[in-house]
């Protein structure tokens, strides 16, 4: 008997009372101003938000946030400040040393400032390896909470996707909060 059959047989023999799947409907929290909440929570998570103004130039805004950046990676046409397209690299290791990556978020979640990022690059490392990550997000695309978020992607097809809330962090040394454990040290969400 294969281990699979063996395990399933044991589960079958040992399962006692069977419970029904509960009704998942709930009055989950709704925010009066999702944008305001998103920005506040992002700040608390160590991230930065910037709301684009009518006269702003996107590339100039990115440059303002990261004036020192030398290697900027993006596969987005509108990001003219990019110095290379990560999709053209033959090996994801070549991404090491990237100062800023610019990616697009699909939607944001007000309750926890997470942005849903289904991987739109050849290498998912783009989302994690640079010292700073700039996420472009349509400010109309905000949901209140994770229940809404998962309903929105119930049948979504992706290979890899991540809800990202602020920069990489750790408090493993004496509970002292440090940004940039492995991933981006800074995360800037630009709300368009």
């Amino acid at each position: 008997m294969s281990s699979k059959e063996d395990i399933l047989k044991r589960i079958h023999a040992n399962t006692r009372q069977q419970y029904d799947m509960p009704d998942l409907s709930l009055n989950a929290i709704v925010y009066e101003d999702k944008l305001k909440t998103f920005i506040e929570v992002l700040k608390a998570a160590g991230g930065e938000a910037y709301v684009m103004q009518p006269d702003d130039d996107l590339n100039a805004v990115i440059r303002r946030f990261y004036p020192e950046a030398q290697r900027i990676g993006s596969n987005l046409n509108e990001i003219t400040c990019a110095t290379f397209n990560p999709d053209e690299l033959e090996d994801p290791r070549e991404l090491n040393g990237t100062d800023v990556s610019v990616v697009k978020g699909e939607f944001g979640v007000a309750e926890n400032a997470a942005v849903w990022l289904p991987c739109q690059y050849r290498y998912k490392a783009v989302y994690f390896i640079s010292n700073a990550l700039v996420i472009l997000l349509d400010r109309q695309e905000l949901v209140n909470n994770m229940n809404e978020a998962y309903r929105r992607i119930t049948n979504a097809d992706y290979s890899f996707g991540v809800f990202m809330s602020g920069p990489s962090k750790t408090a493993d040394i004496e509970q002292a909060l440090v940004f940039g454990a492995h991933g981006p040290i800074r995360v800037t969400v630009i709300l368009i």
Binding site: R16, V162, D172
Partner: protein, 455 residues
């Protein structure tokens, strides 16, 4: 007769400032959890739902696991089933061998600790690199985690700094957490870039989509899986959730409960392997199917390993993770240890004041304290009851069943108040150890009642 827990706890308490720091720091995390939970009016409803979803999924494992497997295979993953720790470790080793892998970079997984995978792979000549900062610090110090979410909570920055001076060549005497963390970032970045195979656990496995979900703050799982051509994800079968909507309930509870954050920095969904890469998933039983047959304890399978029961436990906070004999400490560890081997791990059931704080905060409503109470009732049956307390209990029973004798004894009880300490606090009285006994009242309730003194 002291338990191993109380002996080890006494050692932990010897370092008073460290004990105080440990206690206060974990309580601070618990307070952060309270702030988060109070920010959501639906908090208790979420806990109820989490519990109900787990009760459903753990009583439908037979169908859900097969649904998961079918969808994972359709996604291009290779699915393995492991009956026990030995089979699990062998599966991992076989994959490594097939790819002639010499090194494995892994993110935190309590399951691989449970299976004692690292020592097994080391013995086969594989370099296993832990990539969670706390886990890596412990690995370089040759120590075990003392908490399931904050593994190095018992280590001070000086110790980390001194170890890193020696192992990673950091500046002498620089114990700044930011400096040390960024030195570790550099060190581990090299490990990520050149890993042959990467490994992660899974916080959740979604049956309807065949994907696994890994939650970290550091992004170590994501970095680890970004360069190696092979990713092995392993999970205990109770990690299954039916669908993404149900997953939403858990991702709202997990970090709020464990670390007091609204969500971890990264909640990563691994569904399909990248082109040219392999994605292996191991579904592990290792005793879980046996727990299904124990109605009193089946709810331990609800656990989502958030670590909150440790943060809130007055005994854990003041005795530290190493005082427990099972590799998972705290209330959930006491229970899981007893389910693993009650004779071997019975020392831990005394590490509980039955305050039930753990049961009251558990996001998946595991009845942790109540189960510990049940295990205590079983201690005598498995031959692990405290002999002195048993003797005294037998004496008490003799007394209780004889009212005349009981009343006489009670009349003389206040004399104990005047006995010299050595006669009350000694090796014979197990209840006098580490605590002050109350003084006996001059008159018993019975006497007061008879004299009409009870208002």
């Amino acid at each position: 007769m002291s338990t191993k827990h109380s002996i080890a706890a006494a050692r932990f308490i010897e370092n008073r400032p460290q004990e105080k720091w440990h206690d206060e720091t974990l309580w601070m995390v618990r307070a952060k959890r309270d702030k988060q939970s109070k920010s959501l009016p639906e908090w208790e409803r979420l806990r109820d739902l989490a519990s109900a979803i787990k009760m459903y999924s753990n009583s439908h494992l037979e169908t859900l696991l097969q649904e998961f497997e079918k969808n994972a295979i359709a996604n291009g993953a290779i699915v393995h089933w492991a009956k026990d720790a030995e089979e699990h470790n062998q599966i991992v080793y076989d994959i490594l061998k097939e790819h002639q892998a010499k090194n494995l970079v892994k993110s935190k997984s309590m399951l691989t600790e449970e299976c004692e995978m690292n020592p097994f792979l080391f013995s086969k000549g594989i370099d296993v690199v832990e990539s969670d900062l706390g886990e890596r610090i412990l690995q370089l110090m040759d120590l075990k985690p003392s908490h399931i979410v904050l593994p190095a909570i018992h280590i001070k920055r000086q110790q980390v700094g001194e170890m890193m001076e020696e192992k990673l060549g950091t500046e002498k005497g620089n114990f700044d957490p930011t400096y040390l963390t960024h030195a570790a970032r550099k060190h581990l970045r090299e490990k990520f870039l050149h890993a042959d195979v990467s490994m992660t656990g899974a916080n959740f496995a979604v049956a309807s989509t065949g994907e696994i979900v890994v939650c970290t703050n550091e992004g170590n799982a994501d970095m680890g899986t970004s360069f190696a051509k092979v990713h092995i994800a392993t999970f205990g079968m109770e990690k299954i959730v039916p669908n993404r909507e149900a997953l939403g309930v858990f991702t709202r509870l997990l970090a709020r409960s464990g670390t007091g954050q609204p969500i971890t920095s990264y909640t990563s969904h691994y569904r399909k392997p990248p082109k040219g890469c392999e994605f292996h998933i191991i579904i592990v039983d290792n005793g879980r199917s046996e727990i299904l047959a124990q109605p009193d304890h089946v709810k331990t399978l609800n656990c989502i390993r958030c670590g909150e029961c440790m943060n809130t436990c007055p005994v854990y906070r003041r005795s530290g993770g190493y005082s427990y004999t099972y590799f998972i400490p705290g209330p959930i560890g006491i229970n899981l240890g007893m389910l693993r081997n009650p004779e071997k791990y019975a020392d831990n059931v005394s590490a509980c004041s039955l305050c039930l704080s753990c049961s009251n905060v558990c996001p998946a409503k595991v009845d942790l304290g109540e189960q510990i109470y049940k295990w205590r009732q079983d201690l005598d049956r498995i031959g692990r009851a405290n002999k002195q307390k048993k003797l005294m209990s037998a004496g008490m029973q003799y007394l209780m069943e004889r009212p005349a004798l009981f009343n006489t004894a009670l009349k003389f009880a206040p004399l104990v108040n005047h006995l010299p300490r050595f006669m009350v606090y000694n090796a014979v009285n197990a209840w006098g150890k580490g605590r002050e006994l109350p003084t006996f009242a001059k008159e018993s309730f019975n006497e007061l009642w008879k004299k009409n003194k009870v208002k």
